[in-house]
């Protein structure tokens, strides 16, 4: 990497050969993302909220693959009355995907969100559970718990217990569903206004990868037979994605499951990167490329404990 190479240029150089269209890929990551939000139906009827919002924002458009998700041309919906009252939550579209791929399992279950702050997925799951059932929302950092707590309050979430623990030392807790939205290099959020612009080195990927494997192994160890584990990151880096999953399915008693979400274009996980080959089953993971759905980048794996 040259001194003058930008983070975006580096991302294009590192990952464009993995994408199906390097020109579209490099074009889209230079375009800013639209603001997206989710209607919180715990705090009102979706149609009523949207009708009122349309009075000040005629640009609102429905997102085809998520029934409560919308995009807007406005950039500061955080200063709207509907945000103030907790009727909407500003959230990246890709961040809404993990709960959607296990929609069939969510209602009235016990769910452990291992890395929950700032609460985007937790509040979305609570909304999908109609504020019933039980979510345990954990995070390892005190500062982030404050933002999680603030969002749970604003959105009126009553079914959530918040814990502050390094997940690797979390007491064994049986749940039906585990979400491991792991800390990552966040390269996939490069289109966001305040995106991470640090130029990651190879040893950074290794550091994240070690942490991610530790978190996921802990979730796999405590998960009872038949429960489901969803792993996700917002990075392109195979070191933090397929490489992590490859090790987990080889070492833990879990099997990968297929992932589908109507209306959202997703690509299979890759089975080789640099000098490493991965298990063929890793193709069941899903990559969301920014140029396919005009979103951030994202990675997902859904596993069942055997």
């Amino acid at each position: 990497m040259t001194k003058t190479q930008t983070v975006k240029e580096r991302i294009v150089e590192r990952y464009s050969r993995l994408s199906d269209d390097s020109r579209k890929f490099s074009n889209i990551i230079n375009k800013p993302l639209k603001q997206s939000f989710r209607v919180n139906i715990i705090k009102g009827e979706k149609e009523d909220i949207l009708r009122q919002m349309m009075l000040y924002d005629s640009s609102i458009k429905k997102v085809p693959w998520c029934e409560n998700a919308f995009e807007s041309d406005l950039t500061n919906l955080g200063s709207s009355i509907h945000h103030f009252s907790g009727q909407i939550y500003i959230q990246e579209l890709t961040s809404m995907i993990p709960p959607l791929i296990v929609r069939d399992l969510i209602k009235k279950n016990k769910i452990l969100d291992c890395c929950a702050a700032p609460g985007s997925k937790t509040t979305q799951i609570a909304d999908m559970m109609e504020n019933k059932g039980h979510i345990i929302a954990n995070d390892a950092r005190h500062g982030r718990i404050k933002s999680l707590r603030g969002n749970l309050d604003r959105l009126g979430i009553t079914n959530t217990t918040v814990t502050l623990r390094d997940f690797k030392s979390f007491p064994n807790t049986k749940a039906d569903l585990y979400f491991v939205d792991a800390p990552c290099s966040s390269e996939g959020t490069i289109r966001k206004k305040n995106a991470v612009t640090r130029k990651w080195k190879d040893y950074d990927y290794e550091r994240f990868s070690r942490m991610q494997k530790g978190l996921l192994k802990k979730a796999c160890e405590m998960a009872p037979k038949g429960s489901t584990i969803v792993y996700s990151t917002c990075t392109f880096a195979p070191e933090e994605n397929e490489n992590v999953i490859n090790e987990i399915i080889n070492e833990e008693n879990v099997k990968l499951q297929n992932i589908n979400l109507n209306g959202l274009k997703m690509k299979k996980g890759i089975t080789s990167w640099k000098q490493n080959d991965y298990d063929k089953d890793v193709e069941k993971c899903r990559r969301i490329w920014p140029h396919h759905n005009n979103t951030d980048a994202f990675f997902l794996a859904r596993m069942e404990k055997c």
């Binding site: 009355i81 009252s85 309050d153 009553t158 079914n159 918040v162």
Partner: protein, 147 residues
């Protein structure tokens, strides 16, 4: 540290909710009740063994000499509230959300009130017959640009 709220205090709050706001008792049927520091009252899911929580559920009241509803409570249960509601106009709403007290005229009984703009529950206020004292937490104050 949260502990289970005793039945007398729980009954006191449920009675207050009915008397003051007309909220029916059955709304609270499926919650577990807890009390934490500073007499904060929470409703939420059941406790889990071996977990030491930072919080459980939602803080809905403070129980000092009398019950004090939180903005969380008013916003969440706003549609169940049938009395002691003050409706604000557009300019008053902008002021209220930014944290101001309001000089208004209204005929509701003095005490804690539910503040609304159109059908949106904004939060809790305290009405003394002349001034509407803002009860929204400072961390939630917001300069509203879109309403």
């Amino acid at each position: 540290m949260l502990t289970t709220l005793d039945l007398d205090k729980r009954a006191l709050i449920i009675d207050y909710c009915y008397e003051r706001f007309g909220i029916m008792e059955h709304i609270f049927d499926n919650y577990n009740w807890y009390i934490g520091s500073k007499n904060r009252i929470y409703i939420g899911p059941e406790e889990i063994e071996r977990l030491i929580p930072e919080s459980i559920g939602l803080c809905i009241f403070r129980l000092d000499r009398t019950p004090k509803p939180t903005t969380n409570f008013i916003q969440l249960f706003g549609k169940e509230i049938t009395k002691n509601i003050i409706n604000l106009d557009r300019d008053q709403t902008l002021d209220f959300c930014s944290g101001s007290d309001l000089k208004i005229t209204d005929s509701v009984e003095p005490g804690f009130v539910s503040i609304k703009y159109k059908n949106i529950s904004l939060g809790c206020g305290h009405w003394n017959g002349e001034t509407l004292k803002n009860q929204i937490p400072k961390s939630r104050f917001c300069k509203i640009n879109f309403l």
